[in-house]
Amino acid sequence: MTDETQAVDGGEETTRRDFIYIAAGGTAAIGGALTLWPFIDQMNPAADTLAEASTEVNLAALDEGVGITVMFRSRPHFVRRRTAAEVEAAAEADVNRLPDSNARNVNIGDGELATVDNRSALTAAVADGVTVDEAFARTILVSGANCTHLGCVPTEGAGEYDAWFCPCHGSHYDTAGRIRRGPAPENLPIPPMTFTAPTTLVLG
């Protein structure tokens, strides 16, 4: 702009230059923010990481009272065939007085009570044409193996409930994978699961 127009404006009114300042500044700010996003988002899980995987577990290989740890979606999971005594021990607890009374089971709705049945493989889907022995399914517990406090894998057969004890900060879980004492806030989560044969459980 020439001196002449500036004199006319007297520097008081809105000028084309003000408009250009704001438009250019605004574009730079928005453009900068948009450019930042790829640099942030690249750290999120990549497409191949997101590709959902499933894990098959052969329950027939488990004797009573035996548990294994399997990997499912890059996280360890406990699969345990409990003894009748273990199931009963868990059933004795008053569900409403647990630190976390939510079943934390994606196979049933959110907010269901954390009863022994609601946390067992009884809640698993069953593929067409497959019949599953309910008493057997009731003994099967599948849950995430990372402590809901800060992610350590609790030690099996330890702690106040002879089930799982987290060595990191001292969380005690019972034989239904429910938090009973310690800093962990939630029960171990139950993953999505389906019986594809009477003794074959597919996670995912």
Binding site: I40, M43, P45, A46, T49, C152, C168, H169, P183, P185
Partner: protein
């Protein structure tokens, strides 16, 4: 003290450069003729020692990175190769690993020095805050570096620390996945941790530059806490403090070398020589010794989010310390009450470190007889830690009667007998 420059370029080349890039002038005014209180004791040598530590970490780190492979399948083996096959690899790795511990040893002494002599008070608040920023970056660098060998402690330490962010309501889950680049600590995580571990020391170097700049505006504090008044109170940095710092650095390096050559693993954990296994957590996981007090604070709270808030709060409170301490007197030499609370604070920090290393349910020796376990012990000390900053220091400024302070630094050192201006530097 950024007073008028006393640099006098002697040669033609120096004059030529000085009128184009006065970099020699900057160095001269900052480290040669810089007026420094003449009563600085050995607690004041840790700044120089820390600079050496940073240089050692960067130098050894860059050469380690030439042999290290940031991949879950090869990382552990590449560390073993550095230890066994690479020429002098054992030495370079030991220097780097021991160096991290020595770095923290020095920074803790440096910080407690500042707490005792009131170095965080006006006009040095920004200097202090930059120091806390460096400390935070150091913790990040050390945490990330400890993950790289991909041992059991590496993996589970990384899991526990990243899961801390999961405690944040609503966004916690997405943030942890963002940090991991997946659904658990894995290869993607290791890769980015290596990238960041390489970056952070250079950020630290940048902040150290600001830290020294912020130091050179008000100048050094000193054990009396009294401001410099005349040139009788100071000596030129060189040769007086270059020699004193140099001597302290030499002693420090002797201790450093003793660890490197005779006990390189004594400060670490044997479990980290077991390759990472996502299926099994070691029976007793603890962080490196320099992070133990914060670990104890984290565990002191029975609530996940509460523990995380308190742990970060323990560092956060350092940022506002300059405004929490209401006393006008800087040095605790002249604060008869604060001095003892400071001693208590020191003991609380050491005790928290001890509590962090033990299982929460273990009984405390002797006190266990009356049913005190490490969880309770840690809770009491955590309470004192926060009370020191949030209650004791703010209140003491009003209720404490400081001791009489000398008229000047010179008077404190010579009893006011030095009549003539400070002697010229020795030949």
């Amino acid at each position: 003290m950024s007073g008028p420059s006393t640099y006098d370029p002697k040669t033609g080349i120096e004059r030529w450069l000085d009128s184009r890039l006065p970099i020699i002038r900057l160095g001269y005014d900052s480290f040669v003729d810089f007026p420094t209180p003449k009563n600085l004791n050995y607690w004041y040598t840790f700044g120089g020692i820390l600079t050496v530590c940073l240089m050692i970490q960067i130098l050894t780190g860059i050469v380690l990175a030439m042999h290290y492979v940031p991949h879950v399948d090869y990382a552990f083996a590449s560390i073993e190769r550095i230890d066994r096959d690479v020429n002098f690899g054992w030495l370079l790795r030991n220097i780097h690993a021991v160096g991290a511990s020595m770095f923290f040893l020095a920074v803790y002494l440096h910080i407690f020095r500042g707490l005792y002599y009131g170095s965080y008070k006006a006009p040095r608040e920004v200097l202090w805050i930059l120091g806390v920023v460096i400390y935070l970056l150091m913790m990040a660098a050390a945490f990330l570096g400890y993950v790289l060998p991909w041992g059991q402690m590496s993996f589970w330490g990384a899991t526990v620390i990243t899961e801390l962010f999961g405690a944040i309501p609503l966004v916690g889950g997405p943030i942890t996945e963002w940090l991991w680049g997946g659904f658990a600590v894995g290869n993607t995580t290791l890769n980015r941790f290596f990238s960041l571990h390489y970056l952070i020391p250079f950020l630290i170097a940048g902040v150290v530059g600001l830290h020294v700049w912020a130091l050179h505006v008000p100048g050094n504090n000193n054990p009396t806490g009294i401001s410099v008044k005349t040139s009788n109170d100071t000596l030129p940095f060189h040769p007086y403090y270059t020699v004193k710092d140099g001597f302290a650095i030499a002693v420090f390096l002797v201790i450093f070398a003793a660890f490197v050559f005779y006990a390189p693993d004594v400060l670490g954990h044997a479990d980290n020589y077991i390759e990472a296994d996502p299926l099994v957590t070691p029976a007793h996981i603890v962080p490196e010794w320099y992070l133990l007090p914060f670990y104890a604070i984290l565990r002191a709270v029975p609530d996940k989010l509460g523990g995380v808030i308190l742990m970060f709060g323990a560092i956060g409170v350092l940022f506002i310390l300059p405004w929490l301490d209401t006393s006008k007197v800087r040095s605790m030499r002249y604060r008869p009450m604060a001095k003892w609370f400071f001693v208590g604070f020191l003991i609380a920090c050491l005790g928290l470190g001890w509590a962090g290393a033990e299982l929460p349910d273990n009984p405390v020796p002797i006190l266990g007889a009356v049913g005190i376990d490490f969880l309770f012990f840690g809770r009491v000390l955590t309470l004192y830690y926060f009370a020191y900053f949030l209650v004791i220091l703010p209140v003491l400024g009003f209720v404490e009667k400081p001791k009489e302070r000398p008229a000047s630094i010179d008077a404190a050192v010579t009893g006011g007998k030095s009549a003539a201006p400070a002697a010229a530097p020795a030949e």
